[in-house]
């Protein structure tokens, strides 16, 4: 075995992973989520409570592990219990008062607490869960999916679907075995074995041996490493994860992000060892090029091309790689989750990139608002150095590379690469004119490659499984998967990762569970302040760079906010413009002055002072700003407004012509009134009114003096009897 891989293997051997492996040790693991969002939901107190109970029980074969965010944010804190010889169980919204019950019943008693489980269909404890890799298996009848064919065969053998759960499958990282349409590939849990076969007869054979006789069929068994091996094992069948494919987030919510042992056993640093062994930078760049990976930060520039430029455009002994973790889009937290949940993979991705481009120094530019992410990545850098994955002579290859963290300080524009470079240099984060692009002249004038967190996290799997594998996922122009932060008026808020080409409908209704409160869907906002609102009739748009652009929005870094019929589109447009206007760096004239004037016009519309000519002015300014601004922030700042007018013109016109806000969101266009029948005269509203414009004594029906009302809505909010109405 060659030297570097040997060294990697040795490191792996020395790590004592077995001690925490549920199956081999009989240890029960209680896994508590630990990320900013989990902590906000109270995860730390929950962890402390479990620890107290473990101490009190005197048992030494129960351990607590922490992990990053699983993406199920609306259900946090999430606690997993992994007992030997059992499917794992995940509990949702575990507050401190629920800890004792889970501990007593499940951890000590072996009986899961069904009422607290994360998803209802995990209530049944199956014998097996089977998932297929998505291929176009030719042998199946036209009307059946592969999984459906399998279910039919199961039924044929008289096996109840209460014993075996069959999943539709997705991309679970089975490397080259997903390749052809001749074979079916499936994984059977909890044995965690993979079968690959050609015929329906073979399928029957496996059912007979594995499901009925409970022996492993050696004939069709294959051995290969799985990208998300742990993931199915840990999550089983969870509806939220169906239709998802986790590449970026492959380890998030599964491994302990502060523990390199976990990471290495999830194939961590293997890609790095491979490329160092191969010692061929051009090969790496070709792989990345062939994979079709495009930048995940918003622009969608081909990553391989950027790397090649950085490598070749200028002969310069000093080159830099930068990880852009200045996730500034309001409503986006993909990068935070990845940094908190799987920091080592970012380090590995950057190191691979640095090797291919000839950089020896890298910077991680992280928002100061993410203290936990900073702590995790700091810790990961330190440990990676200790193990020789960073620093001088990495894995004995002679390659030197080290990382430094630089903190942002609250400037959205620093997500723009030249502004980010200025910020690292200690300057005001204002962009400069490109060209020259950073790949030619970046940090301190040296060739610099900037990619965002998600992009870097994609690198190790591409190296391990190959460009061809990655290239098969997604659409013609957009390869791989994309992480989205699903928020707003949707039932399952959280982080999701789906193959490119998945439709917005699938994300919002299948994964997201539909609109919150079963309200009427109105629009989905993607791309944050640079994107646009996509209305209902375009909801079958597939998610890829070009399609989103066509409907007036953009991929952006991955914020996805669902709006329902109670949301005012003028207000939404105003909200985003207010954001960009506030975040405008002030350097270039169109963005600085133009967004101010657009905002003024929008304010006039929301307060009933606009005329129809104002809509034309919005268009005129918006288009001018798009075409004339210096950087991407300015060039995309008008998008939310222009797309809102495009898709919801009627709503704008009602505001302007009728001085009416159909959703009653524009406070200047509504008024509050006391419903006499409901008012009990409790005086609460009168006491809370900031301008004291509510009259009426105790036990008397109150009245709001309209001329003095500032429409703050405080009375509406505080009334306990729903006696205040908005008109």
């Amino acid at each position: 075995m060659p030297e570097i891989l040997k060294k990697y293997g040795k490191i792996k051997e020395t790590l004592d992973y077995a001690s925490t492996d549920v199956k081999s040790t009989g240890i029960t693991v209680i896994q508590v989520g630990s990320a900013t969002c989990e902590n906000a939901a109270g995860a730390e107190a929950v962890k402390f409570e479990f620890q107290k109970l473990i101490n009190a029980s005197g048992r030494d074969n129960i351990v607590i592990k922490q992990t990053g965010c699983t993406g199920r944010c609306s259900q946090e804190p999430i606690v997993g219990v992994f007992a030997p010889d059992n499917f794992p169980v995940k509990y949702k919204q575990v507050t401190v008062d629920k800890v004792a019950e889970i501990f007593q019943s499940h951890v000590l008693g072996g009986t899961p607490v069904v009422s607290l489980m994360l998803d209802k269909n995990t209530n049944i404890i199956y014998d097996h869960i089977i998932t297929f890799c998505e291929t176009n298996y030719e042998k199946r009848p036209d009307h059946l999916e592969l999984s459906e064919l399998f279910q039919e065969r199961l039924a044929h053998h008289g096996i109840s679907n209460e014993r075996v759960r069959v999943l539709k499958g997705g991309n679970i990282g089975l490397s080259r075995f997903e390749d052809d349409d001749q074979h079916a590939v499936m994984i059977v849990f909890p044995e965690n074995v993979i079968y690959r076969y050609e015929t329906v007869e073979a399928m029957d054979e496996i059912i007979k041996e594995h499901i009925i006789d409970k022996t492993i069929n050696q004939k069709y068994l294959i051995h290969t490493e799985k990208l998300t091996e742990e993931y199915m094992k840990f999550y089983g069948d969870v509806s939220f994860f169906n239709k998802q494919s986790r590449i970026t987030l492959r380890n998030c919510g599964i491994i302990d992000p502060e523990n390199i042992t976990d990471y290495i056993h999830a194939q961590g640093f293997k890609a790095l060892a491979l490329i160092l062994e191969k010692n061929d930078p051009e090969w790496i760049i070709n792989e990345i090029l062939d994979s079709g990976l495009r930048g995940r930060g918003g622009g969608g520039f081909p990553v391989g091309a950027k790397w090649r430029n950085t490598r070749t455009l200028k002969q310069d002994p000093i080159k830099y790689v930068i990880c852009n973790a200045d996730e500034g889009d309001p409503g986006a937290f993909m990068d935070r989750s990845a940094l908190e949940g799987d920091p080592f993979s970012i380090i590995e991705g950057m190191t691979i990139g640095a090797f291919s481009m000839g950089a020896s120094k890298g910077y991680l530019y992280i928002r100061a608002e993410y203290p936990l992410a900073i702590a995790r990545i700091e810790n990961a850098i330190k440990i990676a150095r200790e193990y020789g994955f960073l620093g001088k002579d990495i894995l004995g290859s002679g390659f030197d590379f080290d990382l430094e963290i630089r903190l942002g300080a609250g400037a959205f524009v620093c997500g723009e690469e030249t502004a980010l470079i200025h910020s690292i240099e200690g300057l005001r984060g204002q962009p400069r004119i490109r060209p020259p692009y950073p790949s030619l002249s970046g940090l301190w004038g040296h060739p610099t490659c900037i990619n965002n967190v998600e992009t870097w996290a994609n690198i190790p799997p591409i190296i391990i499984y190959g460009a061809e594998w990655f290239n098969r996922i997604g659409t013609v122009g957009s390869k791989g998967t994309k992480v989205f932060a699903l928020a707003g008026k949707v039932k399952n808020t959280g982080l999701i990762e789906v193959p490119m080409g998945t439709t917005l409908r699938e994300v919002i209704f299948d994964i997201g569970g539909g609109v919150f409160g079963d309200n009427q869907f109105k629009a989905v906002q993607t791309g944050g302040p640079s994107g646009g609102c996509i209305p209902e009739h375009l909801i079958d748009t597939p998610i890829d760079y070009e399609s989103l652009k066509e409907v007036g929005s953009m991929m952006g870094s991955g914020g996805m906010i669902v709006l329902d019929h109670t949301d005012c589109m003028v207000q939404t447009a105003r909200y985003f413009l207010e954001f960009t206007q506030d975040e405008s760096c002030g350097k270039c004239l169109p963005c600085r002055e133009g967004t101010l004037r657009m905002l003024e016009i929008l304010e006039r519309i929301t307060t009933g002072q606009a005329v129809m000519a104002d809509l034309d002015k919005l268009y005129r300014l918006g288009n001018m700003i798009k075409k004339t601004s210096l950087c991407g922030l300015g060039q995309s700042a008008p998008n939310p407004v222009l797309s809102a007018i495009e898709n919801f013109r009627e709503e704008f016109e009602i505001h302007i012509k009728e001085h009416r806000c159909p959703t009653q969101k524009c406070s200047k266009l509504i008024s509050y009134h006391v419903i006499a029948d409901k008012c009990t005269g409790c005086t609460l509203c009168a006491r809370r009114c900031p301008v004291l414009c509510i009259t009426g004594g105790r036990k008397q029906v109150h009245e709001i003096i309209q001329s003095q009302c500032i429409k703050c809505g405080e009375c509406f909010n505080v009334c306990k009897f729903d006696a205040i109405q908005k008109i």
Binding site: A40, C73, F333, A368, P371
Partner: protein, 165 residues
Amino acid sequence: MCTNKKYTLSDEIVDYINECLSKEHPESYLIAILHKVQGIYGFLSEIHLDEVAHLLQVPTANVYGVATFYHYFRLKPRGQFAISVCMGTACFVKGADSVLTSFKSELGIDMGETTSDGLFSLEGTRCIGVCALAPVVTINDRVYSNVVSQQVSQILNEIKAAERV
């Protein structure tokens, strides 16, 4: 180097700046230094900024230009409890504005102000990435999730009560 002069900045910071001076591109550590100063003193005073400028040998105007560019930096002291209402998209959609209004009326102060007893200051913040639990409010390091405006007085009372103990 500037060791014979007395600085109002703590030794820790002066040492840190001296450490930065020994590295490549020392001026690039300006933002990191300002983070440290704010971490210790709660805000960036003119005297501290001036001292940072001289220690790091970065023109004072540039230091002030940087300090005022980034919204994370505060140029005025804030209350013992800094209330930040997240104004990110998700929070906005879920009603952060009415939460903010409640804080304003409960405390009798506007955004960016501090109560006269120095206990609370109120600010809006950009998305802190906890969108799924919107609306969120952070008070010092503690994050309150799914806040509704009716909760505001209770939250404040709890803090005041704890403060009295």
